[in-house]
Assembly symmetry: C2
Homo-oligomer: 380 residues x 2
């Protein structure tokens, strides 16, 4: 039996009829355990970014691994995880003044439960506005730009760093070295070290004993230890994806989330499959290859979980609801023989965070267990 026909047979009993995200629980838990162990050995707090999964079911796997702190990127996400009992959250995006009243409300509720909502600012005005509404309940993080160039005070602008740090009481300095996503694999440890050095220089400029927090999956995965900081906030590592695989950050055996798609057309003469599964399911994120953009790769399903990624079966075309898989023509028999419309395939996403976000609702494990995005009842 061909690889894809075999995978279709294994997926058949899971009850999928439309595109849906499926998670290899064993791999995701192993990814969590590895990062948690590294943080523990380093004596550093792990505050994983939950924007990748944004799912309270997956959040519980973190809790079962001993994680008690989390990072979120929106007010809605903060409220969702607070409802599921998370008490110590940091909102790592700059505070939106229009949401400050609701943020303050959540900060007070978490403080009442012995927790806290950390908030992020990069101006004295925002720092004072937060303090005005939250009193001393919210740990304030000063966003530092250590080279990514997205937001925050530049690490090498001591005057500005001092001015912001003086405007209110701060818990620490926070950065996201997002430029690591474009860095070569062998430069990632040096990039981590340089980010720590820049954060430390920024702390020096403030003249205060502030904590240091950084977080990005490439450098946090590449280094052996998190020495030099108080907290790390990687997120993507729970599932990884083809982008991390292409960058050499992870191997096939750490990819833990994929999109199940029904085949709706087959064309052996052109070596292609048509999938129900397009930009509204996978996202438009692509990998550049010599043959053009790739939006995903099919994967095999092995007895215990996801099998190898099939680079010879890439999603090379995409519209809103359609994906086009191009198979190397001389490998059709080996890969796709016997595959018919209605059969299911696994598509590994280029960017797991966006694919999971598009799911919008619950995800499922490979054993069919539901992973709820939200809880029904208000827990806070």
């Amino acid at each position: 039996m061909s690889l894809l026909a075999d995978t279709a047979r294994r997926l058949d009993g899971l009850g999928f009829s439309a595109p849906a995200v499926v998670v290899d629980e064993r791999r995701a838990r192993a990814n969590i355990a590895a990062m948690a162990a590294k943080a523990a050995v380093s004596g550093v707090r792990l505050r994983p970014h939950f924007k990748t999964h944004d799912n309270v079911g997956v959040g519980r796997w973190f809790r079962e691994a001993g994680v008690r702190h989390a990072t979120v990127s929106s007010l809605a996400m903060a409220e969702r995880f607070a409802r599921d009992g998370w008490r110590d959250l940091t909102l790592a995006i700059l505070v939106n003044p229009r949401e400050l009243p609701r943020l303050a409300d959540l900060a007070w509720r978490l403080a009442d439960r012995g927790g806290a909502l950390g908030l992020t600012v990069d101006t004295p005005e925002a720092a004072r506005a937060v303090r005005h509404l939250t009193g001393d309940t919210s740990p304030l993080w000063l966003k530092v730009d250590t080279g990514h160039g997205r937001s925050g005070v530049r690490w090498d602008d001591p005057t500005r760093l001092l001015a912001v740090a003086r405007s209110a009481s701060f818990a620490g300095l926070l950065t996201h070295a997002g430029h690591s996503y474009r860095a070569p694999r062998d430069e990632l440890p040096a990039l981590f070290a340089e980010t720590v050095r820049r954060l430390a220089a920024a702390r020096e400029a403030t003249g205060r004993d502030l904590q240091l927090s950084l977080g990005d999956t490439p450098t946090c995965t590449a280094v052996e230890s998190f020495a030099g900081v108080n907290e790390v906030r990687p997120g993507n590592f729970v599932f990884f994806d083809l982008m991390q695989r292409a960058a050499g950050v992870c191997g096939d055996d750490r990819l833990a989330a994929a999109l199940v798609c029904p085949v709706i057309g087959t064309d052996p003469s052109r070596g292609r499959l048509v999938l129900h599964g397009g930009a509204v399911h996978l996202s438009r994120e692509s990998l550049a290859t010599p043959a053009g953009p790739v939006f995903g790769c099919l994967g095999a399903l092995a007895p215990g979980g996801f099998g190898p990624v099939l680079d010879a079966a890439a999603v090379t075309g995409m519209s809103q609801e359609h994906g086009i898989v191009s198979l190397e023509p001389d490998r059709w028999a080996e890969l796709a023989d016997g595959l018919n419309p209605g059969d299911l395939v696994l598509v590994h996403p280029v960017h797991a965070c966006l694919t999971c976000n598009l799911q919008g609702t619950s995800m499922r494990t490979l054993t069919g267990a539901m992973l709820p995005r939200d809880v029904e009842a208000e827990a806070v």
Copy 2:
């Protein structure tokens, strides 16, 4: 007052605090009226594709313009519009065998109300499976590939066309000339004519008196008349977007949907704004420009609706929740002076269909009216 500060002032009273899609109702209704008038003059049925808005509120504007037929791209979308009273729908994606029982159920319900659910196939097996479950209630459309290369029987494969057409009773031949999205503006009328010619050749091959249906916004907007076909199915034209504008298909004055985003950071020294509004709001769709990819452009708000697009204020960076707007530095005073965190901006999307899909919930008009995505009660 700078242009963006003026727009922020106008947006201030609309009640937005987080990224949300806002529609210029006057423009959207004008876009609908123009396409409906062209179809009427041509004596051709307009069956607009509702995947662009996927919103029953916007669907009602079509109904008020006399439109009674619509195209959808998923079962969920078909069920949504059926709930709002639409009785004549075509699902323009190849039938997913796993969804056939639910599709047949909907087809029978629509037939009971004097309507129909058209279904699309490109194999004898799928045609027979549909007929097996829907009897004669579902108009069957044979998907023809007229050059897009996505799915369907090739227009120049008469043997295959005949084999499929013989397998069941068909209503017509259906194509999507998606390659028009990459065609130069001045070639669009010729591309429309060539698509009609290919569809007619395919009909000739079937030896049957079948209807012809095509649909894509670029050619349907560019031509003066729809002569030669029975039905047109454009979708994007209701809102248009920066992709259509860049292709010369529409002017600024037809762009009818934009994302309202809160500013969360300003940096005049680098000529940039940081927005809450990223890939999970706009999508990763981009326009290639000499200066790099552009993910959106800010727009002004004029007294009666959207104002001009500000090419000098483009979204040049994007992550999951952040957008970075780069302003031409010497135009900061004119464009952005007085703009502060918490102020709102309008971002015109590159691809309106994906941005609206990411909204997931209701949209609003510029007068604050809610446009519900779905209806509460089951109308079918």
